[in-house]
Subunit: 135 residues, 2 copies
């Protein structure tokens, strides 16, 4: 299931911002792809898929989101803000991100380039995939 990774969050009171630093040496793989998701509406949910091969490290850099991870047997819910740790979502985990505050932003680091065949978009298909792995 998900694994936590610590990244510094530097708040500068005089400048009001939050600086978040991700040194490649602190990321557990070679970065092949990075994407950001800006969820502008509260209560919208994104993600809702699993990957067969791709591992993803998810970080919240603005607002507040709820990350839901599901290995087919159990679910884990993690609230994330710009002060939270990064969460590694390994391949084979169904993940969803619920936007809890408007203008929440996540950054996701991936160890694979985009491959449409790596996605499991249907939850029943995901459960079948997991079952076949353990047979």
């Amino acid at each position: 299931m998900p694994i936590e990774y610590e990244f510094s969050s530097i708040t500068d009171p005089s400048r009001q911002g939050v600086l978040r630093v991700f040194e490649s040496k602190n990321i557990p793989f070679k970065i092949k792809r990075v994407f950001s998701v800006l969820n502008s509406e509260v209560h919208t949910t994104r993600g809702q898929h699993a990957h067969k091969v791709c591992n993803q490290l998810i970080c919240c850099v603005a607002g507040r989101i709820k990350l839901i991870c599901d290995d087919g047997l159990r679910k884990e819910e993690i609230e994330m803000t710009p002060m939270s740790k990064g969460i590694l979502v390994p391949a084979g985990i169904w993940a969803e991100q619920k936007c809890l505050e408007s203008n929440s932003v996540i950054i996701v680091f991936c160890d694979q380039s985009y491959d449409e065949y790596d996605y499991l978009h249907d939850y029943d298909e995901f459960l079948k995939y997991k079952k076949n792995l353990t047979v």
Copy 2:
């Protein structure tokens, strides 16, 4: 001076978010470091330094910022939103980011790890550095 790089911005009307994708093959260097800056207050300015060696690719993923680039002789101002291109700020350029909307977020990709000696934090020192390079 700054160079534009195109990255896709995918707006999904049903989900309300903006997905921004940065494939490593579209980034002009090997990513050594990534940082994000959340500017929570309008009119605050960040950056205000130059790098001697480090090249940085700056992308706005939320809100609206003004990027100011200065090579010691001329200034360029670029407004950036989540729909804008990424901007490569090469080494030897003084850069500032002004927050034009609350909760603006930038992601910055770097081709170097953190090195405190790579920073020019003082504008006069920067001008002297540029002058010495061209002598």
